[in-house]
Subunit: 286 residues, 2 copies
Amino acid sequence: MVHNGIEYGIMQLIAEVYDILRRGAGATPDELHRIFDEWNRAELNSYLVEITAAIFAYSDPDTGRPLVDLILDEAEQKGTGKWTSQNALDLGVPTHTVNAAVEGRIISALKDERLAAERVFKGPDSALHGDREALLGQVRSALYASILTAYAQGMALMQAASREYYYDLDIEAIARIWRGGCIIRAGLLEDIRQVYRAKPDLPNMLLADVFRSAIEKRQAAWRSVLQAAVGAGIPVPGMAASLAYFDAYRSGRLPANLTQAQRDYFGSHTYRRIDKDGVFHTEWQS
Amino acid sequence: MVHNGIEYGIMQLIAEVYDILRRGAGATPDELHRIFDEWNRAELNSYLVEITAAIFAYSDPDTGRPLVDLILDEAEQKGTGKWTSQNALDLGVPTHTVNAAVEGRIISALKDERLAAERVFKGPDSALHGDREALLGQVRSALYASILTAYAQGMALMQAASREYYYDLDIEAIARIWRGGCIIRAGLLEDIRQVYRAKPDLPNMLLADVFRSAIEKRQAAWRSVLQAAVGAGIPVPGMAASLAYFDAYRSGRLPANLTQAQRDYFGSHTYRRIDKDGVFHTEWQS
């Protein structure tokens, strides 16, 4: 199930990249085929990137048009991504990217509503101007960094489930098995395997040097792509959730102190302090 | 329960605005008190904005320091936001903002991990430069637009639940009751009430003129704030999810056609087409 949650995340991220390149940069299926094919030969090497390249090359025998252009944009689901999200919520493990992917499928299914809404709302110009090659490099970095967070969330979820339910999971072995053959098989699973072999109880794989440096190197490009998509009105819930996960995880201080104050204000839910132990309640209105 | 889901969303959005103004713009609790107090006197008038203003004004009797600064940033939850997310997933209703809020609380609880990660990862300079007054205006617009999407998701969820379970809910009456007194009571609930009185089966409240124009007017500011936060490394999962919801909802064509092609490629899950009726499967590798 966690495998499928990660799979949902990666598929959503690839779809967003497709949307950025198609809507934003006007790439044709033929160009997209070459782009994904090139990406599949390097750090993004994976089954899902490989079949994406193949899909863009496929012509509909009846019309001669790229088949992908003729497929209805309503994503279906069999529930495994949803179950991952629901279970992660119960276990208290953040899976921002997986959730965003499930939401992405849900909102895609509202095709009639979306068609009606498109006629109602004005949005910004969706064209991304600027150098095409530079954009491609940035998008590639953004995709890789976002995919790393999807794996990180899935691995952390399995660790938490293992602790909670005494599964005694061998995360290294799982990475090895996935590497051997499954829908999310990818070159980077070899790095993941090595990371968990060296440190089976690492709280988050992004903390390992290999991924820390991979993500830091891509940070600026990742932020730029997201900013460009936000400006152009191209929805990137998965990529945004991935970056928010990264930025929240590396924030020693989050604004949740305000949330706790609000909860104590309206519901006397109490709070803890940073300067002394104990549980406190304040009569805020006095 | 849906009330609480919306409440989670709004609280997360307010927390993110607090983080932008504090981390990004260096606002003190005293300044934040004045900002939220001013906002509460106009379109953002609501109980949650009102108590936020009051919280920033409260000094800890023991230390004389603003109490909010001394509260631990680990948000707790009693499960109602989570249940909203889980039920919305089951009903197939997109609730991006609510989910992001639940995730925001979950990741805040990983305090020790976050403190450790902060020492490991380098991020961008979190300072937001530029005109303070202009930023405040933009943030105010971004908060209002994001809050609109949180209500829109909650209202649509209740409509879907009403259809699915034959609840025969009177959405106008619910808006009126919430308006009368509850944690999410707000001036804008009067507009929501009027919208559903005029059109009880409106698929999404954002389609009503009053909200369409409110959100369109704030669109540019909303995007700018998000871009600034993304650039400064300040996590804004709720605001990003709200905008992604809006941008996806107003997209007649989403990239879910690629997702369907992938699902058919690796799992023969079939797809539908835009140019003819029926359900299709392709032997992509032939």
